[in-house]
Amino acid sequence: MQIGLRHVGARHVSPSRPRRVVMPLLTPRAKLVRLSVLASALVLTLIAGACAGSLRLPPGQVIRVLLHPQAQGLVHEIVWQLRLPRVLAAAAVGGGLGVAGAMLQMLFRNPLVDPYITGVSAGAALAACFGLVYGVTFTLIPTLAFAGGLICAGVVAWIGMAGTGNNNLRLVLAGVAVSALASAVITLLLLWRGAQNVSLLGWLAGGIQTQSWRQAGLVAAYLAAGLAAAFLLVRDVNLLRLGSSAAAGFGLPVEQARLRVLVVASLITAACVAASGIVGFVGLIVPHAVRRVLGGDARWLLAGCAFAGSSLVVTADLLARSLVPPIEIPLGVLLAFVGVPFFLAIASRPVDV
């Protein structure tokens, strides 16, 4: 990747051939500065998210209310009971999808992989459809989706890891096949029973539905555990990124490491899908964008993806509920409008993992 490099002239010239000596532009200090910028951007978007809505609140007032959690009043109620859980849920989903996407792209060494390649979204959607069609109460849908997502990811992992040969390719193919089968069953269900089921369609389109503290807390706690596990896998991911034979040569138990990364990424994705339905593009574009800012080392990349993914989804959710009030644009739809041009712009330049 030549971007972000600066030629500083030949310092050492061997007698027989001209040499280029190139220094990487990104020192650890520069990366730290950039990571801090991403973190600050997240704080700003969180505050903006708490300000925006059908009743627009000035940022100063929101910050005052946030600093005094014990106070009373209408604004206090709006910020603490309505806006904050929703904004935090959006941040959790965005951060989770960003990190899971980055992990999977490094695991598969494939820039086109997104968190849903593992079959998680298809399984979750299928389970949610069954639940809604058979009249399961809506509060149980996320749990069902989570279980369905994990089962599908498990099937994909099982097919992908079995046998010898190119496991990466087999995993991707298994993900595509399982997702296709699940989509077919969903279509059948929709034709048969679900045409009148608006909540199901809304869920499939993806969105941070009005979240209570209980829901938001559950998702946040779950994702915190997933992210902690992800950060324990940073070393594995960094080694797998070099290719499995190199990683094995260095002494990494490659198959176990691949399974660990896949399981943790699936868990994170399943939690995100359970909280928000299928929010596309975040897990695909965030790692690409952050890689350009912070480089490919997972130590920086995963942290950057957590911040950037959170900011992106909080901003998108903010737009989704404030562009044409009182209608809420589904988050997945909005992200596709933002994400596709961005993705095409990225795809027109050289892509690395």
């Binding site: 220094m23 040569g249 260095f250 002494g251 690395d352």
Partner: protein, 245 residues
């Protein structure tokens, strides 16, 4: 064989029903460079993986005095990785997963390894800007940095022109002077004769091992590779030169 640091005794390996080799025995002593040669598909890479402990042999035993490092050359690392980072990753595989920072003693090990591989000036240069030979040497530096006493290298000269190939093989030969045992899978028989202490010819599931002039013999090579091979002597250096026809 008794003072060998890496020993394989009666080792066999099969992919499913397909036997790759059977009943192989090999002993590598410290400070020796063994060139593993043989036709494509004869199982050189598989044998290296078995010797490295990464593939379990169907039968037989592999004993290594210390943990061997396997370097598979010819792979391109992600383009933004620098040789220093690559070496640091190699070290990280031997640390606890939650230790992210490179330790101070590791820093000096990395510098030394890069120095020995002639990469000191390019430690911070992304591999996308390095030549193929430099990338190859960066992989070898990864084995040095973990202080491997047994080094298994798969095709260290793949994709390299003559100059870089010589550079890499000279580096491997230098390592043996420090007591490292090296097994390198090579395709160029003359290079093997020039640089290796011993040659192991793997063909038809059988391994014959010995000094280059014994193993690199016209009839055996012709049989192994399925083309007529003649052997000659280098007029000045005296090593075997293998030529087709």
């Amino acid at each position: 064989m008794s003072d060998a640091v890496l020993k394989a005794a009666d080792v066999s390996f099969a992919y499913g029903e397909q036997a790759v080799f059977a009943g192989l025995s090999l002993g590598v002593r410290a400070g020796r460079l063994v060139a593993l040669v043989g036709p494509n598909g004869s199982g050189k890479s598989t044998l290296l993986r078995v010797l490295a402990g990464l593939a379990r042999p169907g039968s037989g035993r592999v004993e290594a005095a210390t943990r061997p490092a396997l370097v598979v050359c010819g792979q391109t690392p992600p383009p933004d990785v620098t040789p220093r980072e690559l070496a640091a990753y190699a070290l990280s595989a031997r640390r606890a997963a939650w230790v992210w920072r490179t330790q101070p003693q590791d820093e000096s090990a990395i510098s030394q390894a890069l120095q020995r591989c002639g990469l000191a000036g390019y430690a911070q240069t992304p591999v996308s800007l390095l030549s193929a030979g430099e990338v190859q040497r960066a992989w070898i530096a990864c084995a040095l940095v973990v202080n491997a006493r047994i080094l298994l290298v798969d095709e260290p000269t793949a994709h390299l022109d003559l100059r870089f190939a010589v550079e890499v093989l000279e580096l491997l030969r230098e390592l043996t002077a420090n007591g490292v045992a090296v097994v390198a899978a090579l395709h160029d028989l003359t290079m093997a004769a020039r640089f290796a202490h011993d040659v192991a010819l793997l063909a038809g599931g059988r391994l014959s091992c010995g000094p280059p002039e014994e193993i690199l013999e016209a009839r055996a090579l012709s049989e192994a590779f399925g083309v007529r091979v003649t052997t000659h002597r280098h007029p000045e250096l005296g090593h075997v030169v293998c030529l087709p026809g």
